[in-house]
């Protein structure tokens, strides 16, 4: 078990380093002439050269990378080229906002999705199952902005129950719901689609397994069979999927935050990308990667603890 953890940890670190190289590479290398990109085609060559020198982009690539990554690790994330504020507090602040929105969505939808997935599996092939499965399927497919737009039109514009633009809520539960419900629904729809599918598939597989047959033939009541024998095995794969969902969540956040004008990290990525604000962009993307890898690690850890075959490996 310990070896399992250590390998995963090592892998995570290696992957993060690779990611940082990729991020840096894409952001700094691809545009070619950064100064030109910022100043546009009408600036003179001297102006471009001077800007490049100021930004430090005329130094060798490796030096720039090392400089950047060491600064990052130390906590010095530089200054925003557009907004002229330090990057770190900006990114962390936005990250916190997004986490609130994301957590809200997760807390509401994950238990519900698992529940529906298990129900669908227990009623395999019957009407309930078909309805749940097809609904889940359709909901995955819906792009977040489509669902978001439809929700806005109906609930914010026509009915006026929710604000058209969402801001970070206070601690008041009513306010939390008012601000966060509409933007989180598109996220929840996609999550429901995946999680309920996974829960269903995992449960169906276990229901058809030999050890479920054994439990039934021991004369155990159906309830016991489901709670004690089926669920703990069927939900294992679902746990690993939930971590992947964090990734989708972040992607969805970009869209949802733009649509609802919510000051989160997704909007920050978008704005800094379009505005070529490199320090902010690189720092944000890297932080998202860190978050994603950490959630993966936690999921793996959880899986390892819950699966006896990993915990007590021969």
């Amino acid at each position: 078990m310990r070896r399992f953890l250590l390998t995963r940890l090592a892998l995570t670190i290696v992957t993060l380093v690779l990611v940082s190289i990729l991020v840096f590479g894409v952001a700094e290398v691809l545009p070619g002439d950064v100064g030109r990109t910022i100043l546009g085609p009408f600036a003179s060559n001297e102006q471009v050269a001077r800007l490049n020198h100021e930004l430090g982009v005329d130094r060798p690539l490796l030096v720039r990378y090392v400089d950047w990554i060491s600064g990052f690790v130390r906590g010095d994330w530089g200054e925003s080229a557009l907004l002229n504020v330090p990057v770190r507090p900006l990114v962390l602040d936005r990250l916190a906002n997004s986490l609130i929105l994301g957590a809200f969505a997760l807390v509401l939808i994950v238990p519900f999705s698992i529940f529906m997935g298990v129900i669908a599996a227990l009623k395999y092939g019957r009407a309930t199952d078909r309805v749940i499965s097809v609904t889940g399927l359709s909901l995955i497919a819906l792009p977040e902005f489509v669902a978001g737009v439809l929700l806005l039109v109906v609930f914010a514009v026509k009915l006026g129950w929710f604000p058209v633009s969402s801001s970070v809520p206070s601690a008041n539960p009513v306010d939390i719901f008012r601000q966060l419900l509409l933007p989180s629904i598109p996220l929840m729809l996609v999550l429901f689609g995946y999680i309920s599918r996974m829960a269903r598939a995992g449960t169906v597989e276990v229901l058809q397994s030999d050890y479920t047959r054994t439990a039934m033939l021991k004369g155990l009541p159906r309830r016991t069979v489901i709670w004690r024998h089926v669920l703990r095995n069927s939900l294992l794969p679902t746990i690993s999927v939930v971590s992947v969902q964090i990734g989708y969540l972040v992607g969805g956040l970009v869209v949802v935050e733009k649509l609802f004008n919510y000051p989160g990290v997704g909007k920050l990525v978008l704005d800094s990308a379009i505005g070529h604000d490199l320090p902010v962009l690189e720092a944000t993307v890297l932080m998202i990667a860190v978050l994603y890898m950490v959630s993966n690690l936690v999921a793996d850890l959880l899986y390892g603890i819950l699966n006896p075959r990993v915990r007590f490996a021969r």
Binding site: V134, L137, S138, L142, P143, F145, V149, G247, L270, M293
Partner: protein, 308 residues
């Protein structure tokens, strides 16, 4: 199967003939190519979800190709006198802020998404199959390194990668296709690789090696035909995602530029007028919804049939 004991030589023809093999697989394998296609087709049509999805997809494809023949107005034709008009008999879906007919724009908008998405998917599938086959079959260092890279690349969601790359490369249809295609390659490769890992343990691969077949032959002539099912399913699923992603990217302003009637773009530009002219965003959004859901229904229907 009567064995005539009076003829000593007939007893030697011992045929353990096929009828004993129960199961659809046996029946299926005995049909000729046409028979198999017919059985496949009938199974697909049997699924209601598949049918609904297929009809909708076919409609949109038809529209994407032929909209010029039946569109009431030119999608780019402005009419300053009829801006922000609600749905009426002359403008079924209303008009936008420049007086353009929303209905026509919706009809015309199908083309962009149905050009970009299939192209990107094809790119992703081609790349994914190659990478997946090579890493799955050869394993070893190549596999380890590539899979690490894949994991790294997948360290964060596609949208973010796409945003990152497109903002840097610039916006154009071609760039969107390439970005989505390249981003899909590792995902497809993963699926292909796991299918290959399962197949290569089968003895027919060993038998091929004993014939001295080259790696290339084994990958493409022996293994690939056996994983075509999962690949077909993956392709349709990817297509759904490609549509999803392409539309989202244009919504975010990273895809096509105005005055394209692209749906994502229409929604983005109509947002400012949400409260006074909601039909500007409503109808493109609905159109996109129907297309994406339909593609996924088709994908799911295909999956059910292939798995059987």
């Amino acid at each position: 199967m009567v064995v005539d004991r009076s003829d000593p030589t007939s007893a030697l023809t011992v045929t353990d003939a096929a009828p004993g093999v129960a199961g659809l697989q046996g029946e299926f394998a005995r049909l000729g190519r046409r028979g198999r296609a017919a059985l496949f087709g009938r199974a697909l049509l049997g699924s209601k979800a598949f049918l609904v999805g297929a009809v909708i997809v076919v409609w949109w494809i038809f529209d994407a190709i032929f909209w010029r023949l039946f569109v009431p107005y030119e999608p780019t034709a402005v009419d300053p006198g009829a801006t922000l008009a609600g749905p009426s008999r002359s403008h079924l879906f209303g008009t936008d802020d420049l007086g353009r007919d929303v209905f026509s724009r919706v009809l015309a908008g199908a083309t962009s998404v149905l050009t970009v998405a299939p192209a990107a998917t094809a790119l992703g599938i081609a790349g994914g199959i190659t990478v997946g086959l090579v890493t799955g079959y050869y394993r070893g260092i190549v596999d380890n390194v590539l899979m690490r890279l894949v994991d790294a690349a997948l360290a964060f969601p596609l949208i973010i990668i796409a945003v990152l790359v497109l903002s840097v490369l610039g916006q154009s249809t071609w760039n969107v296709v390439v970005v989505i295609g390249i981003v899909f390659t590792p995902l497809v490769a993963r699926t292909v690789r796991s299918a290959v890992l399962a197949e290569r343990e089968h003895e027919y691969v060993a038998a091929a090696k004993l014939r001295g077949e080259s790696g290339l032959y084994i990958m493409f002539a022996e293994i690939l035909p056996n994983i075509s099912g999962p690949i077909a399913v993956e392709a349709t699923v990817r297509l759904g995602y490609a549509i999803f992603t392409a539309a989202t990217l244009s919504f975010l302003g990273l895809g096509l530029q105005p005055p394209s009637p692209d749906w994502g773009l229409s929604v983005a530009s109509g947002l400012a007028f949400l409260q006074i002219a909601p039909w500007m965003v409503l109808f493109p959004a609905l159109a996109l919804a129907t297309l994406v859901v339909a593609v996924n229904l088709v994908a799911d229907g295909l999956k059910q049939v292939v798995e059987e």
